[in-house]
């Protein structure tokens, strides 16, 4: 599993688009941190989700999942390693992008978000292992938030993104709900990862 994590981190660091998007989102996080901790926490969650999604979906987009499974045929271990990678990347991203929030003295908010945002990364990565398409996920995620969580649920229902927003503010009950959604998605991913890897 360590080999997969090392390989994934190396791949992310040597792929220009990944390194660039990580730098841009970190810079954006720093900028939003100067406006307010809530804005930064929102970006941290969305960013972590996005990095979780792209970390896995790129393997399907560019067909490198084939190489991954040829080298490591035990797919569940590969998935777990990818989830660990998503956590590592999102912790790094959240820690760096929240530097201003920490310096401004909102230490509790910084630490809570540092714990909760990686859960969004795991949620995103697991969802990507099921959907295998970043475009499908991002469009679906945006529609879900807009129509289901915001318009229908008023961001108050026990749904993933609504739960994240409250969990990032220190609501333990919502944190448990977010963990529940994430665990369910991971279980779905463990089942879905066994699907055939077909050609182009």
């Amino acid at each position: 599993m360590i080999a997969v994590v090392r390989s994934e981190l190396y791949r992310l660091s040597t792929t220009r688009s990944n390194a660039l998007s990580l730098a841009i989102f970190s810079g954006l996080g720093v900028a939003l941190g100067t406006i307010g901790a809530d804005f930064w926490a929102l970006l941290a969650g969305v960013g972590a989700f996005g990095f979780g999604v792209t970390g896995i979906s790129q393997h399907y987009q560019h067909r490198t999942a084939v190489l991954l499974y040829l080298a490591r045929p035990r797919r569940i271990l590969v998935l777990l390693a990818q989830l660990v990678t998503a956590v590592i990347v999102s912790v790094g991203f959240t820690a760096v992008s929240g530097a201003v929030v920490l310096i401004q003295g909102d230490r509790d908010r910084y630490l809570i978000t540092l714990v909760v945002a990686p859960i969004m990364a795991v949620l995103g990565a697991a969802a990507a292992a099921i959907a295998r398409s970043a475009t499908f996920l991002f469009v679906g995620f945006a529609a879900w938030i807009l129509f289901v969580e915001a318009m229908y649920g008023k961001l108050q229902q026990p749904l993933p993104f609504s739960a994240y927003l409250d969990a990032a503010s220190g609501d333990i009950h919502k944190l448990v709900i977010l963990l529940g959604w994430t665990l369910a998605t991971v279980v779905g991913a463990i089942v879905a990862i066994r699907r055939d890897l077909n050609g182009d």
Binding site: V4, Y10, R16, L70, A71, P73, D196, N198
Partner: protein, 292 residues
């Protein structure tokens, strides 16, 4: 050693691969021939654990691919026209794979040189030509120094020089005791490379045997041109041969070149041309496929 035992893949009612059975043995190059859509790629994907078989077994060194302890050190595979992340350089791609497989990172630069990509090591894979991507895919397959190589249409995109390079590389691998299974629809190219042949059509194996045996099963043809074609024709037929003519030269079946020369000499007809037409793998293949 590769063994496929009644390997079957169904999609609903459609049998894409139907009870495919054959072996590829060490020290030999086995060609897996079939038209597009005949089931070659699906078979190889089942062999490599990427697609689950409906029935049957695919074994590499006596175990299923998923059960190999270090797959990359035992099996190298080239699939899908050179897979790599377009944003990574060739060197970064191979280093990623080395980290993933546990291969020695020192092999990265050696392999880049070996496949002729030393000067393009820092170039993004997205800027590589198809031939360069195929070379990188071969380097990726060789990273773990495996004994078994499985290649799906590896010649696609390679120029004649690249094809000659690949041919020599695979022959060398087999000479060193490795097992090579290569699929292709470029039959003329494969004919120069393979020792054994497996022909698949509509998901079913039509023929599996040494290439020499396949050639031996077809009648050798002589092309003969002489001063008196009528007399030659008659002499060959009297010797039991089957003769056809195109008005310019005779096509003779059932005689060796030595016999044909002796018969012409005995008949007193001067020979201007006597050539053996090598069996045409493409024609044999098409005959087998259409017979199926």
């Amino acid at each position: 050693m590769i063994e496929l035992i009644e390997l079957t893949k169904s999609y609903g009612r459609v049998r894409a691969v139907n009870e495919v059975t054959f072996s590829a043995v060490p020290g030999r190059v086995t060609g897996f021939l079939g038209l597009n859509g005949s089931g070659k790629t699906t078979t190889l994907r089942m062999l490599l654990g990427l697609t689950r078989p409906t029935a049957g077994a695919a074994l590499i060194n006596k175990v299923r691919f998923q059960e190999l302890s270090h797959p990359a050190r035992q099996v190298g595979a080239v699939l899908e026209q050179g897979i790599s992340h377009p944003g990574q350089s060739g060197r970064a791609h191979l280093t990623t794979q080395a980290l993933l497989t546990g291969a020695d990172r020192a092999r990265v630069d050696l392999l880049l040189e070996q496949v002729g990509l030393g000067d393009a090591a820092e170039q993004r894979c997205g800027d590589y030509s198809l031939g360069m991507r195929q070379r990188l895919a071969v380097a990726t397959a060789l990273l773990g120094d495996p004994s078994v190589l499985i290649l799906d249409e590896p010649a696609n995109g390679l120029d004649p020089e690249g094809m000659a390079w690949l041919r020599e590389l695979l022959r060398e691998h087999a000479r060193n005791g490795g097992t090579v299974l290569i699929s292709s629809h470029l039959l003329a190219e494969l004919a120069q490379l393979i020792d054994d042949v497996v022909i698949i059509s509509e998901g079913t194996v039509r023929y599996a045997a040494p290439l020499a045996e396949l050639y031996g099963s077809t009648a050798a043809r002589l092309r003969i041109r002489g001063r008196d074609p009528q007399r030659l024709w008659q002499a060959f037929e009297e010797a039991g041969a089957t003769v056809e003519g195109d008005g310019y030269a005779l096509e003779v079946f059932g005689l060796t070149p030595e016999d044909a020369g002796d018969i012409a000499f005995a008949a007193g007809v001067a020979i201007y041309e006597l050539a053996t037409d090598a069996p045409n793998l493409e024609q044999i293949f098409l005959d087998l496929v259409s017979a199926g």
